[in-house]
Symmetry: C2
């Protein structure tokens, strides 16, 4: 579980954010909270459909869009043609290895970054990511 208030259940956590906790929504949120490898829609769908045979991909899309609007996940736009999802809503960066394709979490101190010219802008989201070779792939 990856929740701000660990005492909560997923159901309570979703409710608190104005999301009706249907069975599918709870399962999708729990999947994200326990699979921190920044899954794509298809990852989520393929894994969950073994447990929930009636699940449809549309529901996964609907649910993730709702989660995004309600602020319980962040969309990681790092691949050029598919979105990834992360239940960790704290500001942090990502690293994508161009060889093994894995996406790593990267702790970054955003306060060190003082962009000029944005003084009158309202910044709602910070996105930082890196691409290259991870330690393992680099050695080979």
């Amino acid at each position: 579980m990856n929740m701000k208030h660990p005492i909560d259940t997923t159901e309570g956590y979703l409710k608190k954010h104005g999301i009706k906790p249907s069975y599918q929504r709870i399962r999708i949120y729990d999947y994200l909270a326990t699979h921190k490898n920044h899954p794509s829609v298809d990852h989520i769908y393929q894994d969950l459909r073994h447990d929930i045979p009636t699940l449809s991909k549309t529901t996964v899309y609907n649910t993730l869009k709702l989660f995004q609007v309600k602020g319980v996940l962040q969309v990681i736009v790092i691949e050029e043609n598919e979105n990834r999802y992360d239940a960790d809503t704290d500001v942090h960066g990502h690293f994508r290895c161009e060889k093994c394709q894995k996406i790593y979490d990267v702790p970054v101190n955003i306060s060190q970054l003082h962009p000029n010219g944005l003084e009158d802008f309202l910044i709602k989201e910070n996105h930082i990511y890196f691409k290259g070779l991870c330690a393992m792939c680099r050695k080979k």
Copy 2:
């Protein structure tokens, strides 16, 4: 023109990077160099097809992919479902206004950002972007 060596022509600049300067490639590069608003493939295609009626979108895709591989542009992955392109290959950030959709350049000092845990990683690309409301949209 947005070139490291302003003395060059587009033709010379492309050659230097191992790109045969065909008519279409020169026109697409010039478009990027003079339109710094981070256009999408469709922006480029729709604008250039008035001048070059035979231009195909495939050629725009082919050319941008080639430019990316040869390192004369960077792909900005900031929209959730389409790529944007920038002939400025220096490290810099972007800000996308969620209201007017405009993408602004943001000078950032990447060296201020010392991500932990990437010591053995080879970082080839840095990407930093922000989302929110720009100064103009915020006032309204």
